[in-house]
């Protein structure tokens, strides 16, 4: 299993030649020429920071690697509700970082003055005895985790190299940063509970205090011994060993663990989450209350090994893990009677064997669809073999609550998003949901994933995989090529970023793509369904109006200052919307008005101009009247043209009648005149 943290940028401990400063919130100055490599996080570089209002304050800033999802929810909560046992989060926001030449997330924290605990231990500057562990190590970490738990945050980065001495005297230990990468992302395997350590690095999940407790236990071992007893063990071997022997035995091994720590270590390093020590047990232990130590429980092992993929397996959990990595071989194995015989005899898996055979038969029955595929079959089999392990499909493994970070990781590095989409679309996650009622709130997770599926199956703008990405990763920046360098994490930053992007956009690109739409849909807490429906329209004019209306709604609702660049950009792509008016006169009027509104930088006014309801109704009515009039004209023209000889005949008949009338009238006149002349 890959255990390498994401590569950091190329800045190092020395001051870069083009170092500059950044100002956060008009208050905190981050000095790029003063790096603090001793405070670096795996995914963030540390620099000296100053508070303009209080220069005596000891601060440092973590400048995150652009693109790495950060934990904004945790930052928001902990900034508002600071507590003991953790480095105080002072400020966080995105800012332009001159060294990288782009915006990125910067987190200002209280500077620990005593350095890293592990470094101090290894250098011999500090010595921790078994008697120091409860009060100097466990107590402050416990306080920190307790506070985090009270605000609903799991630290997920508890490890010896992330513990700091807050004071120069190196008496007070505090937990370090947990914001600069997804939960559990930077944790070496030894500090992750077994079920999460089997998942891919990005898919270890948000977790809970239960997972932090395991990390605390593993950290206690390292701090007590002064070194990691299994540091050099390969990841696969470690997982194998932990699965077969249990995490406590695998980690502690033959190391001399003090008797006084045996009880908490067995409790904290339990592989059964519901048996693992929680905050209550740790508090009781700190208060001197003796508890019955958990007995070392090794996983159920077979007497004879089963060889698969060049390795002898004594445990079906390791076999399940291996099945997911070699699917064709796993399918062959599933069809072999020797495997089922081993399963029945060696691990008492008679019922399991029958279940797996049933899955194979079902797959054979569904040969023509995805349920008959080898990958689907193996996913189903693996879920039954290791129901409390991570979801495993097509070689990928992730925890139920790790879908979001995993999706982010795959999308950022153009990885295999398709596999994740299939996990959702094909309901593969359901294989694991039913088995986790204790470990996680499986119903809640199932609801979350069902909601993700609802977004995923819609391919319109504002939905799809992009929507899933932003809904399940609150700390990821908008991945649209238009604003990716602007590190837009919160919705308020989107329009200014688009305004700036207007200066360098090429061609007739529109200021809204699938990523931006999905980002707005996920981050903007207003009903934008009508806008999304318009954006999804196959009629270009509707799509353009939908885009403008959404941007205008954002500017109005968020009270964003005039956006001259964006207004100009939008004004330039309004052609189809203007052309949706039938009246050429109206079109010309709108085209004349647009430059005036662009100069005002007001998208709502631009929208009012282009989609004025009254004007549009007038246009529709006028058009309907025009069509009616055209039809009347066409009908009359047709009648006249079709008349032809009939008209001539009619004219002749009319002429004859006219002649008869003239004759009769003349007769009457002549007779009257003659009669009058003769008689009178």
């Amino acid at each position: 299993m890959a255990e390498q943290p994401m590569a950091a940028d190329d800045t190092d401990g020395d001051a870069p030649a083009n170092a500059g400063t950044a100002v956060l919130g008009d208050r905190f100055i981050i000095d790029g020429s003063k790096p603090l490599p001793e405070l670096d996080s795996p995914n963030a570089k540390a620099y000296l920071a100053e508070d303009r209002r209080d220069l005596s304050r000891q601060l440092f800033a973590l400048v995150c690697i652009p693109g790495m999802p950060v934990r904004t929810r945790a930052m928001r909560l902990l900034k508002n509700l600071p507590g003991t046992g953790t480095l105080e989060l002072v400020e966080w926001n995105t800012a332009f970082w001159p060294i990288l030449g782009r915006r990125t997330m910067i987190i200002v924290m209280e500077r620990p003055l005593g350095g890293r605990v592990l470094e101090q231990l290894q250098s011999g500057a500090v010595r921790l005895t078994e008697y120091d562990i409860p009060r100097r190590v466990v107590q402050p970490i416990y306080e920190g985790l307790k506070h985090l738990n009270s605000v609903g945050v799991a630290h997920r980065a508890v490890r010896p190299d992330n513990l700091f001495f807050a004071d120069r005297e190196r008496q007070e230990i505090v937990l370090g940063d947990c914001f600069t990468s997804p939960p559990g992302f930077d944790q070496p395997l030894v500090f992750e509970p077994l079920e999460r350590s089997m998942a891919n690095q990005a898919g270890r999940g948000h977790g809970s205090v239960v997972d932090d407790m395991f990390a605390l236990g593993a950290s206690m071992v390292v701090l007590t011994l002064g070194h990691n007893p299994i540091e050099k063990m390969k990841a696969d071997d470690l997982l194998f060993r932990r699965t077969n022997l249990g995490s406590y035995a695998a980690i502690c091994g033959n190391a001399r663990v003090p008797m006084s720590l045996l009880e908490p270590l067995r409790g904290l390093l339990s592989d059964i989450p519901q048996e693992r020590w929680g905050l209550t047990e740790v508090e009781l232990w700190l208060n001197g209350r003796q508890q019955t130590p958990l007995q070392k429980k090794a996983a159920k092992k077979a007497d004879t090994p089963y060889r698969f993929s060049g390795r002898d397996h004594l445990n079906i959990r390791t076999l399940a893990h291996a099945f997911n990595r070699n699917i064709p071989e796993a399918v062959k194995t599933l069809r072999e009677e020797t495997f089922h015989a081993w399963l029945k005899r060696a691990v008492d898996g008679g019922a399991l064997s029958e279940t797996l055979k049933g899955y194979v038969d079902t797959a054979d029955f569904h040969k023509d669809n995805f349920q008959g595929s080898e990958e689907y079959l193996v996913a189903r089999v693996v879920a039954s073999m290791d129901p409390i392990g991570p979801m495993r499909y097509k070689g990928m493994s992730l925890c139920l609550d790790g879908f979001g970070p995993m999706l982010a990781s795959e999308m950022i590095r153009d990885g295999n998003v398709q596999v994740l989409a299939e996990i959702i679309n094909r309901d593969i996650y359901q294989f694991w949901v039913g088995e986790r009622s204790v470990v996680l709130d499986s119903l809640e997770r199932a609801q979350e994933l069902a909601q993700i599926k609802a977004w995923l199956v819609i391919n319109d703008p504002g939905y799809g995989v992009e929507r899933c990405l932003y809904e399940s990763n609150h700390g990821i920046n908008c991945q649209s090529e238009l604003v990716v360098d602007d590190c837009v994490i919160v919705i308020e930053d989107l329009l200014p970023a688009l305004d700036a992007a207007a200066n360098h956009v090429e061609g007739r690109a529109r200021p809204m793509d699938r990523h931006i739409t999905a980002f707005i849909a996920a981050r903007f807490n207003e009903d934008i369904h009508p806008h999304l429906r318009a954006l999804a329209s196959t009629k270009e004019s509707n799509a353009v109006v939908g885009m403008l209306s959404l941007l205008a709604f954002l500017q109005w609702k968020l009270r964003v200052q005039p956006l001259y660049g964006l207004a100009s950009w939008v004004g330039g792509v309004l052609g189809p919307a203007i052309n949706s008016f039938h009246s050429r006169t109206t079109r010309r009027e709108i085209e004349r008005e647009i430059p005036k509104l662009v100069r005002k930088g007001s998208l709502p006014e631009l929208f009012d101009l282009v989609d004025n309801a009254e004007k549009r109704l007038e246009d529709q009515d006028g058009y309907a009247d025009a069509v009616d009039e055209y039809i009347v004209c066409a009908t009359e023209i047709g009648e006249i043209e079709e008349a032809g000889s009939e008209l001539t005949d009619k004219a002749i008949t009319t002429g004859q009648k006219t002649a008869a009338m003239i004759s009769l009238v003349t007769t009457m006149i002549v007779v009257t005149i003659t009669f009058i002349a003769e008689v009178l």
Partner: protein, 167 residues
């Protein structure tokens, strides 16, 4: 024409012969063009009969009046019928009727034709103006016979008009 009409016609004719023989004789000969027109005109409207007969009567009436008012005798009737000038006037008037009947319809037809062409030009000009203002799609929609339904557009909230004016 049934028998009854013929009988009544004969009775009336005989009565007229007994009562007004000069007049009947004079009219019988002087109104011959009208009778010919009645026979020749096969139309329902009998326009030729009215046209020729009307002007024929115009020519006859002055002489008929003189017959009635001056000397209502058979001699006078025959004298008029044998007078070339009188016959020329009577038949000339009937000839004018024929001329009117033959010449007026083409004139009227030409006039109506010109009016139709003018109307066509007006209608085509109207159509051109409509297309200039509303576009070629009018032709399509007119052919289809239905104007497309109004486009459903999204609306930013109505309160947007209350949004603070940009600085």
């Amino acid at each position: 024409m049934n028998m009854r009409v013929v009988v009544w016609g004969l009775i009336i004719f005989v009565m007229l012969l007994l009562v007004a023989l000069p007049t009947v004789l004079f009219l019988s000969f002087s109104m011959l063009p009208a009778v010919v027109a009645l026979i020749v005109d096969r139309t329902d409207e009998k326009s030729a009969t009215f046209c020729v007969g009307g002007l024929n009567l115009c020519g006859v009436f002055p002489y008929l009046l003189s017959l009635w008012l001056q000397d209502n005798s058979l001699d006078q009737s025959l004298r008029l019928l044998t007078d070339v000038f009188v016959l020329a006037v009577i038949y000339g008037a009937a000839g004018m009727g024929w001329m009117l009947y033959l010449s007026l319809p083409p004139v009227i037809a030409s006039f109506i034709q010109v009016m139709s062409q003018r109307r066509l030009q007006q209608l085509r000009a109207t159509q051109k103006t409509i297309i200039e203002e509303w576009g070629e799609e009018v032709i399509h929609d007119a052919d289809v016979g239905d104007v497309s339904a109004p486009v459903e557009m999204p609306h930013a909230p109505s309160e947007r008009t209350q949004a603070p004016a940009p600085a």
